[in-house]
Amino acid sequence: MATADPRTSKASEPFDIVATYNDLLRSDPDLTMPIAAIEALVLLLTHSPSSTISETLDLLEKSTAHLKKSIPNPIGLSAGTDLFQRYLITTLQRPGQLGPAGDFNAIRAHLLSNSRLFIRRAKESRDKIAAFGRGFVRDGSTVLTNGGSRVVASLLQQAADEKGGPSAVRFNVIYVLSSPKGDIESPTAEPEGMETVRALRAKGVPVATIPESAVAYSLGKADVVIVGAEGVVENGGIVSRMGTYQIGLLAKAMGKPFYVVAESHKFVRVYPLGQYDLPIEQHVIDFKTQEEVDTAKQQQSNSANSPGTTQGLNSEFHPDAVDFTPPHLISALITDSGVLTPSAVSEELIKIWF
């Protein structure tokens, strides 16, 4: 086994986990961040012929840390990497042929095949969620939703689908679109979620699109709020795209049910105490005086000829920004392991981790 060592270092060097992760995300629009992370890690394991358990775990840990550091918002991603690491450790600790006493090559083959199975199951979970969540969309109701969540889209589409169940649900959708004007890179880009809007309209579902500022105004006409999530944290709250928290607050104030749709592999072991306790840096609130604005503009014009540095320097709004919706605003979480109350999330997480 020791002979494999020089080959290992050579083979693992060129493998770029960050690039792989980004490629995966770009190539498959249906892929969520945690799954992309797991897939990237599985690819890493296939590329690097590590020969011992500790070597594998060490490699995994290093690449995970590297990946987390190079992605601006690693919350959703860390759900996947943590889960995969946990899965590896429990598999390796299990007694028997696949335990520490067994043949390592067999263990590795088993791990890889199981990981692929895991990824496939995770992709299927969206359909499962749609089946659970269908009952929350009633005939004649109006659903308010936001963002570009693929799970929400698949849930709504399945509810509208004739073939999906006994009969199609007739419902209206109020879609909250965030204005993309803050995005300097592509000011003409269409807002996130437009694709879903088109798909729903094609299925005959009446969709109204409103800006974020009209949420409070429109919420009176909505019966239920359904949102997606980037990560579900330990206390049952969610980390989701910026603007979800205010919808949650408004829904609570107006007494409308607020449902979150998320796959269970999005459960993260993070425990934020509030908006500013998230383990990421985001400069949403950026105080400036006129002087600072002027200097920033000057710098921008100076470096205008060198492309790449302009992005985000003066942006008033970050399209990737997230906020934290605390658990007391959430009525229920619709996941592939059932419809959970926020307090049941920690139970699920503990079950995974211990």
Binding site: E234, G236, Y271, L273, G274, S346, I350, F354
Partner: protein, 555 residues
């Protein structure tokens, strides 16, 4: 009634305890099973006649209760509901007695009216001593005043004295006044190990105070007990050591009611003892047990504390103002850990009478170099104004996610949550899983601990500049520092001595009518006011407490 199988401990279950408490307990049971309030005048050292008559009834009821409790814990452990019922019964009994007294002193018409209320009970036919028999018959709830009035005739004086004494118990918490805390080691069983004897008094005097400290001290004392133990002839270690330990536990619980953590640790130890194979040689079994105790302490408390301090310290950010209440050792460790990590934050310690546990914490933190502000709970609204986080220690976490901790904790947590500014301050509880319990607490009345009310009376009078000199100082060290003060006003000092010596206007509260003192030890913080519980198994919302408790006890 005696059930050795029951691993839980109860202070009242002490077999050699005073006969009074035993009879009281049986009485309480009788009241539960028949839902018939019993005049309290009958329950304690009494004229022989009613007591004797009650004897068969008592036995019968005891047997019935024992049979009814299938799990075998019936007589030992009163569930909160039962406790409440008991308290209610006692209250009803007291009211009845008072009414009876009034009737007796007043007109006889009242008594007749009361007897008329008895539904279906021919109270009038009963003689004066038939009243006690009614207890066995189990009918006629309203017949009690009548019976009481009939019986008070010979025991008027005694009842009067008793009433005076019992009035000093605050009614709502009546069920919590168990035995008086032990004041000496006299009367302790000969089986009790000297280390345990000492520990008991230390716990009584709050020398060993705090849930974790008491748990560790108890385990260490039990380690010495086990080391000094030899199995008597004809028994096996796994069977006899448990009963031997029970004597120690009983003694400890008479010094101060056992904490949840102590209970959990003892339960684990007893389980370890009973799972020892009888064929294992004694020396080996003893060393196994000592090892078990050491592992338990390090795993559940020492290392757990380090883990908790580490993860709780992560939550402290630069510029934070951390509010804490009283003196929790784990909070202290957390703050010190965060300080060592170079975080810049301020600590505001809120303390309360009579234990002043925060003083030690304040000194330790200040000595370590932290910026500390110390205030009493009266100033809570001021102290909470600039707070950004609240860290709390715990005595226990109940299964409904509520925090059971030193009295005043709930006030701090609620002030943090309901602060006028509208911005919520996160309330973080640091708690080892050994403090988790499967009990449920809805309020702080059913389960609590009452300490000696005299603790509230004693205060060290501050040195007063404007007042007269301290009488003790004025009387004795005349030549030493008396000089001007003693010469200026010796006579007013003399006249004031009586009130000064007492120190506090409450000193003779026992003889003051209409005055009750309540020195409650704990309170319950609702789960909504707790944002996060940091345990050695990770950070949890309070709702996850029962799950983790189940897991940590099953492991």
């Amino acid at each position: 009634m005696a059930n050795t199988a029951d691993p839980t401990l109860n202070p009242v279950s002490a077999p050699p305890a005073a006969p009074e408490s035993a009879s009281k307990k049986t009485n309480a049971q009788m009241e539960q099973s028949q839902s018939q309030p019993q005049p309290q005048g009958q329950k304690a050292p009494k004229p022989a006649k009613p007591a004797k008559q009650q004897q068969p009834a008592k036995d019968k009821n005891a047997a019935a209760a024992a049979a009814a409790s299938a799990d075998g814990a019936g007589s030992d452990k009163l569930s909160p509901a039962e406790l409440k019922k008991k308290a209610k019964a006692e209250k009803a009994a007291r009211r009845a007695r008072e009414r009876a007294d009034r009737e007796q002193t007043g007109a006889g018409g009242g008594g007749a009216a009361a007897s008329g209320q008895g539904p279906g009970t021919p109270a009038g036919k009963k003689g004066p001593d038939a009243g006690a028999a009614a207890a066995a018959s189990g009918k006629g709830q309203k017949g009690i005043p009548r019976r009481g009035s009939a019986q008070t005739v010979p025991q008027n004086g005694a009842a009067e004295a008793k009433k005076k004494q019992e009035d000093k118990k605050v009614a709502v918490f009546g069920h919590l006044y168990g035995q008086q805390r032990r004041t000496t080691v006299a009367g302790a069983g000969k089986e009790v190990h000297p280390a345990v004897l000492a520990l008991g008094l230390q716990m009584r005097d709050y020398v060993v105070c705090g849930s974790s400290a008491r748990c560790v001290a108890t385990l260490l004392a039990f380690k010495r007990v086990i080391e000094a133990y030899t199995t008597p002839m004809g028994t096996s270690l796994s069977r006899h050591l448990t009963t031997h330990l029970s004597h120690q536990i009983t003694y400890l619980s008479t010094c101060r009611p056992l904490s949840i953590s102590q209970g959990n640790a003892i339960r684990a130890l007893k389980l370890a003892i009973s799972s020892i194979d009888p064929s294992v040689p004694e020396a080996q079994a003893k060393s196994t047990l000592c090892e078990f105790i050491d592992t338990f302490i390090s795993e559940k408390i020492t290392v757990a504390d380090q883990v908790i301090a580490g993860s709780a310290a992560q939550k402290i950010k630069d510029g934070d103002v951390v509010v804490t209440f009283a003196g929790s050792s784990i909070v202290k460790q957390t703050l010190l850990t965060a300080f060592k990590q170079g975080k810049k934050f301020r600590v505001s310690i809120i303390d309360s009478r009579p234990l002043f546990e925060g003083k030690n914490l304040a000194r330790t933190l200040a000595n370590a170099g932290l910026e500390v502000q110390y205030s009493l709970i009266n100033g809570i609204s001021h102290a909470i104004k600039d707070a950004t986080k609240v860290f709390l220690g715990a005595h226990a976490m109940t299964s409904n996610g509520r925090l059971y901790s030193r009295v005043g904790t709930a006030l701090v947590a609620m002030s943090a949550k309901e602060r006028a500014g509208g911005v919520e301050i996160p309330v973080i509880v640091c708690c080892e899983t050994v403090k988790f319990t499967d009990r449920v607490a809805l309020d702080s009345i059913v389960v609590n601990e009452i300490a000696d009310a005299d603790e509230l009376v004693v205060t060290e009078a501050p040195h007063q500049l404007t007042d007269l000199p301290d009488p003790a100082a004025a009387a004795q060290p005349e030549p030493k520092k008396g000089g001007k003060t003693a010469a200026s006003n010796p006579s007013p000092a003399e006249s004031n001595t009586a009130s000064k010596k007492d120190g506090s206007p409450l000193t003779d509260w026992r003889d003051t009518p209409n005055l009750q003192l309540l020195n409650i030890m704990y309170d319950v913080t609702p789960a909504e006011y707790v944002d996060m519980v940091v345990t050695e198994m990770g950070s949890l919302p309070p709702s996850a407490v029962p799950i983790v408790h189940r897991m940590s006890t099953n492991l």
